[in-house]
């Protein structure tokens, strides 16, 4: 990537303030811990050393991989179910009127509330967290996709009717591209919720994953350095997942929505 002088200055202006805030938070944390002479709560340095231990013995990667795999499976399933369902509900009024009330009722139930049922139905293996992630991310996907269909500008549907195109062309070239920006919003919300939930779900009874790492570190000898290390890693990966879904906004076919 080539950067002009002005571009570089702009980058510095964008990156410097958030970096300064982070440095300030870490400094404050460090200062408070040292002043309080806490025996349990770790300093930033202790957290880094603790995390490095996990990197060296390879367990960190296993936890990350396990969590990401569960998110991938649950969220992938939600995409496969939620988007077609949302399109259908948006397009067919009867489907919307029939299904929307039940979904609106299920949607506000916290995924955490589903944990007992998940354990009952799926046991304590991988299936439980996958189910919880599915249930938490499928509703935002359905809702965003449906509202995307409902807000398609009428003049585009009229144009399609005017040209007398087939249903396949209508869907492929008008409805789906018109809704795509909303679908991407749904995916961003969905992946965010999924990542929140996987950690909570793994705290219950599994033997791997970042949520398990946090609970296990606390239970096995108050390793709060690892607890905090787990939290920081969860935050970083969440940021990364959001960044990846945001890349979708750069697709040429959705650029129209974000310019002007």
């Amino acid at each position: 990537m080539r950067l002009s002088r002005a571009g570089l200055a702009g980058l510095v202006r964008r990156v410097l303030p958030p970096m300064a805030v982070m440095v300030a938070v870490v400094a404050l944390w460090w200062w408070v811990v040292v002043r309080a002479e806490s025996a349990i709560f770790p300093t930033p340095a202790a957290v880094v050393t603790g995390a490095w231990e996990l990197v060296e013995d390879g367990t960190l990667w296993e936890h990350i991989r396990a969590s990401l795999m569960r998110v991938g499976a649950g969220f992938g399933l939600a995409v496969l179910v939620g988007i077609p369902l949302g399109l259908w509900m948006g397009w067919v009024g009867a489907a919307y009127r029939t299904l929307n009330p039940i979904f609106q009722m299920l949607r506000p139930i916290s995924p955490i509330a589903w944990i007992p049922l998940a354990i009952l139905w799926f046991g304590v293996g991988d299936l439980s967290p996958i189910f919880l992630i599915f249930i938490s991310s499928v509703f935002p996907l359905i809702v965003q996709t449906t509202s995307g269909v409902h807000t398609i500008d009428r003049r585009y549907l009229r144009a399609a009717a005017n040209f007398g195109v087939s249903r396949a062309v209508l869907f492929r070239q008008v409805v789906i591209p018109a809704v795509l920006p909303e679908i991407i919003v749904g995916m961003r919300i969905g992946i965010g919720v999924a990542w929140l939930v996987v950690v909570a779900a793994e705290m219950i009874a599994l033997r791997s994953g970042l949520g398990y790492l946090i609970m296990d570190s606390r239970n096995a000898g108050n390793r709060y350095d690892l607890v905090v290390a787990g939290m920081v890693i969860i935050g970083l990966i969440g940021l990364m997942l959001d960044g990846i879904t945001r890349l979708l906004e750069r697709l040429k076919t959705v650029r129209w929505r974000y310019v002007r």
Partner: protein
């Protein structure tokens, strides 16, 4: 006009009313009849809110009249279709398709067979409306005037028997408005089309049309009809054009 050849477009006694917010009937179109012959350019002028767009919606098949009928080649119109393409004020160029894909839209499935021939046809029409070199540009990269050209080319490419222009250039700035009139006439010289233009701009009608119909205020009826016999290119400053303009404005009550 021979009896065995019906007019291209025939509107017979069309009436349309809406239900007002208070529940009463609000007549919008009151017994409109008109004929447009093959290759003719007819303009309908009327004051704002007189029901021009409703009339266009009925003629293009998007709305059913309460009474009367719309005939294409003597056959009643069943609904909207590619035989008559509408170009309206705000336009409907798809923002998620590039220029070439927009032009190919009416030709059917882009991913289907014979894509090469379709693309070549699209590029040809892009050149006809002066968009050569912009085939892969997206609408948000184009100006208002260029978007109108895209819309015009997208309509022409399906070879519509009728071109319905509903205030086509009124969202453009004055200069671009004038330029697009000339562009439209130039394109129509290359490819003869039957055109029905609805506008509130008397000069636009006088500049382009073969015949100008004047609508009354709501409920709309056809109040007067003027033949425009001046040859193209017309000069709006010419005495004949001025006389015609004055006469039409007088019908509109100005």
């Amino acid at each position: 006009m021979s009896a065995d050849r019906p007019p291209k477009l025939s509107v017979r006694g069309v009436r349309k009313q809406f239900v007002s917010a208070k529940g009463g009937a609000l007549p919008v179109i009151d017994d409109v009849s008109l004929d447009v012959q093959e290759g003719e350019f007819v303009a309908i002028v009327g004051p704002s809110g007189c029901g021009k767009s409703t009339l266009m919606n009925v003629i293009a098949g998007f709305e059913r009249p309460d009474a009367g009928s719309v005939l294409l080649d003597g056959v009643p119109l069943a609904g909207p279709g590619p035989r008559g393409i509408v170009i309206s004020q705000h336009g409907s160029v798809f923002p998620w398709l590039n220029v070439q894909q927009n032009l190919m839209f009416g030709l059917g499935d882009v991913h289907g067979a014979d894509g090469g021939a379709r693309a070549a046809l699209a590029d040809h029409y892009a050149a006809v409306v002066g968009l050569k070199g912009f085939e892969s540009a997206y609408p948000h990269e184009l100006s208002g005037g260029m978007l109108k050209r895209v819309e015009l080319a997208r309509a022409l490419i399906v070879k519509p028997e009728l071109l319905y222009l509903d205030e086509p250039f009124s969202a453009l700035d004055a200069l671009m408005n004038l330029r697009m009139r000339n562009e439209l006439l130039r394109v129509l010289q290359e490819e003869r089309h039957t055109v029905l233009l609805i506008t509130h701009d008397v000069e636009e009608a006088v500049y382009m049309a073969d015949r100008v119909l004047v609508l009354s205020p709501r409920p709309a009826t056809i109040q007067a009809s003027f033949e425009v016999t001046m040859p193209h290119p017309r000069r709006l400053g010419s005495p004949a054009a001025q006389v015609l303009r004055e006469a039409i404005l007088k019908e509109l009550g100005l």
